[in-house]
Each structure stands twice: as structure tokens, then as C-alpha cells.
């Protein structure tokens, strides 16, 4: 169903601009046009549709679903809601406090907060369109597993000891409080859903469109100008250090999944192993310094550092695991 973008790029690059399909530059330009047009069209349509569907799901309702759940169910639910709730990372602090003050254990709250950036609509969409559904499903499963296990781990080490004192008090008060009534599910009219979806689409597209150009531009340059076999030879032969290196490289690229995924497409086509790619992608979308510093308001340094190291280690393990298994696939 994506061939239309290939034809469009054929026409624009080879017919209109008359580049040769066999030249490096022709190849790179074709790659650029095909990917940018495909990503733009998909982003606009899919963000709109997804927003339309989930317009009435908000963190207040999620909180109600999570209150009083037993741990195992709680981590899984926290992770699922983290994946599907529309939620801006700048709301991390109020959501953390809202969940905590309702007596929800820190681990379940963190399952929600860790999964949320990992599985966001833009990253999933780009993975789906550029790397195919198999990689995308793998990514979602691994991402939710990291969220669930990360939450369970934080409860196992009693992470609530290292909250800031006012957050600790809110948690204690919440655990003793009566359960509030369910917030009424908002009955949204189609017009209201459309308005929400339109706002979301404009906001997200306005934020990411330039990263698409940058990312695909880099991908196209790699595609056209890195010698065939170079990546495979130096990074693709199961060298163990490529995974931690990819994770470390992902940290400063925070939240620019839009720019990074097209580069990954190019790297994978040139022979970068799947585990290394997964680890890189996760580190890029989820390990962001500015967002971690924000959490300082509710967490002591010790907990903050623990969460960060936990994430980096789990992404590295994921990378090694999949690189190891890929030879059996």
C-alpha cells in the first residue's frame, strides 16, 4: 500500500528532475522524496485517527482504573495505559503526584511513565512505515516489558523511600484514603472529538515536521554515500560494544524519534543488527536528561539515578539479547 510513494518519488526524482536511478545522488534523492512524502501523509492521517479514537481517555480516568489493583495486574495495566493514553511528557510531574496521592504504588506509576514515551504514536507510526510491522510489534512488546519489569523492580527495592518528603506524605495519605467515585466518562460529541484530533494533529505535526526532513536527509546521505558493506563490516558482526555505544548515543538525541527512525531505516538496510537498532531507538525516545531533571521535584537524586541507570541497563540487555537471538531467527 506504500508503493504510491515509490511511484511518486520515481516520477519526481527521475522524470521531473531527470536524475539517473543508477547514480548515487539519484538514489539518495529518491530515498529522501519517498520517505518524506510517506511520513508526512501517514503522520497527518494517523495522528488524526488515533486522537479521534482516544479523545475521551484521560489521565484522571486512568488513575481510577489503577487505584487498588494488585501489583501484578497494576504493572501490566500501568504499562498498557502508558502506551495508549494521550499524554504530554511535560505533564509527568502532575501525573506522578496525581497517581501517588491516590495511593497507587510508585512501581505502577512508573510502569505508566516509563512506557508512555517508549510507545508513542509518532515512534510507532514511523517504525511501522519504515521498518515494517514485525519490528514494530517486537518494539512494542519489548517496550511494555521494560515498563512492567522496571515498575516491579522499583517496588521491589522500595523506591518510595527515596521520594521527596511531600510526595511520600501524599502517598501515605492516599493509601489510607477512601476510594473516590469514578470520574464520569466524558461523553464527547463527534465535533468535540474532531476538535481534539485537529488540535493534536496540528500540534504534533508542527513539532516534528522539521525532524522528518533532518532525519530522512541524514538517512538519505547514509544511504547514498556510506560505502556498501562498511556498516556491516564494522558494526554488524556482533561486536558487543555496539549496543552500549548505541544506548549512550541515544541519550543526547532525546525525544527526536522522528529524526532518528529514518536514520535507523538506513542503518538497518546497510546491515546494522536488529538488537543494536532496538536499543538505540529506545534510548533515544525514553532516556532524556531534561525530563529526568524535571522528576527531581518529586524524587531524590538517588532514585532518579537508579531509574536512569535501570533504563540504560535494560536497553543494553535488550540489544544484546536480540543480537544474540537474531542469528537463530
Amino acid at each position: 500500500m506504500f508503493e504510491v510513494f515509490t511511484h511518486f518519488a520515481d516520477w519526481l526524482a527521475y522524470d521531473l528532475v531527470t536524475l539517473s536511478p543508477s547514480s548515487k545522488i539519484g538514489d539518495a534523492v529518491h530515498f529522501f522524496i519517498e520517505d518524506v512524502s510517506k511520513i508526512y501523509v501517514l503522520l497527518v492521517i494517523m495522528i488524526y485517527v488515533i486522537a479521534l479514537l482516544r479523545a475521551s481517555l484521560n489521565v484522571e480516568r486512568v488513575r481510577h482504573y489503577l487505584v487498588g489493583k494488585n501489583r501484578a495486574v497494576g504493572y501490566a495495566l500501568g504499562s498498557v495505559f502508558g502506551a495508549i493514553t494521550p499524554f504530554c511528557s511535560c505533564s509527568s510531574i502532575p501525573v506522578f503526584l496525581g497517581f501517588t496521592s491516590a495511593g497507587i504504588p510508585v512501581g505502577i506509576t512508573m510502569s505508566f511513565l516509563l512506557t508512555s514515551p517508549l510507545i508513542n504514536e509518532v515512534a510507532v507510526l514511523l517504525l511501522m512505515s519504515l521498518l515494517g510491522w514485525k519490528f514494530t510489534v517486537l518494539y512494542i512488546v519489548v517496550g511494555m516489558t521494560v515498563g512492567v519489569l522496571g515498575g516491579a523492580f522499583l517496588d521491589a527495592i522500595k523506591a518510595e523511600r527515596w521520594l521527596q518528603s511531600f510526595a511520600q506524605k501524599a502517598l501515605a495519605a492516599g493509601q489510607n484514603a477512601q476510594l473516590a467515585d469514578a470520574p464520569e466518562a466524558e461523553q464527547l460529541s463527534l465535533a468535540e472529538r474532531h476538535r481534539f484530533a485537529k488540535d493534536e494533529t496540528l500540534e504534533i505535526f508542527g513539532r516534528v515536521w522539521k525532524w522528518v526532513i533532518i532525519g530522512v536527509g541524514l538517512g538519505a546521505a547514509l544511504h547514498g554515500f556510506v560505502p556498501d558493506g562498511w556498516i556491516e563490516q564494522y558494526l554488524g558482526k556482533g561486536q558487543w560494544w555496539t549496543v552500549p555505544a548505541a544506548v549512550a548515543l541515544g541519550i543526547p538525541l532525546y525525544s527526536n524519534a522522528t529524526g532518528v527512525i529514518p536514520v535507523m531505516e538506513s542503518l538497518i538496510q546497510n546491515g546494522l543488527p536488529i538488537g543494536t537498532t532496538l536499543a538505540f531507538c529506545m534510548s533515544t525516545v525514553a532516556a532524556s536528561f531534561p525530563e529526568f531533571i524535571l522528576l527531581k521535584q518529586v524524587m531524590q537524586w538517588r532514585l532518579l539515578a537508579t531509574v536512569f541507570v535501570m533504563l540504560l541497563l535494560s536497553f543494553t540487555l535488550v540489544g544484546w539479547l536480540f543480537n544474540g537471538f537474531s542469528s537463530f531467527l
Partner: protein
């Protein structure tokens, strides 16, 4: 017809959406000739106090009016009328 100055708080972690929300309210208040006193709150304890879980949130005269997005122009006009 001198009205009392409305006390408006915009709650948020200082992201662009919160900035835009404050600017929007300021602009519309100026257009409508309503006196407002806008403060931006970034303190986590304030979020907890008002029970706000998504930002930007708008508190007018101690009442939570809106949370989770930049409000629409007509919403803001309604609050200030």
C-alpha cells in the same frame, strides 16, 4: 463598571504550551478590557494542592477551569466575560 481583578494562575512545568496559554489569556483579557493578574506556577506542590494531573492548567479565582491543553479562544472569552 469597574470589575475586580481576576486572579489567574497558569500551572505547568514551564513548557511552551504553558507559555502560550498565559500569553493567550493575557491577550484576550487586554482585548476585552478585563483586569487580570496572571501568575505562572511551576511548583509540584501547587499541582498537588489543586489536584491537577495534566498541564497546562488554568485556575481562575481559585477555581480549576481547564487542564491538559492550550485552551481555545472562545473558552477563554467565556471565563473572562
Amino acid at each position: 463598571m469597574k470589575q475586580e481583578t481576576k486572579q489567574i494562575k497558569v500551572l505547568g512545568s514551564g513548557c511552551t504550551k504553558c507559555q502560550k496559554t498565559a500569553e493567550l489569556i493575557e491577550r484576550i483579557a487586554a482585548e476585552q478590557g478585563v483586569e487580570v493578574n496572571i501568575t505562572k506556577e511551576t511548583d509540584a506542590q501547587v499541582f498537588l494542592q489543586y489536584g491537577v494531573m495534566s498541564t497546562p492548567a488554568v485556575i481562575i479565582d481559585e477555581v480549576l477551569k481547564h487542564s491538559g491543553s492550550i485552551p481555545h479562544t472562545d473558552q477563554v472569552k467565556g471565563w473572562l466575560a
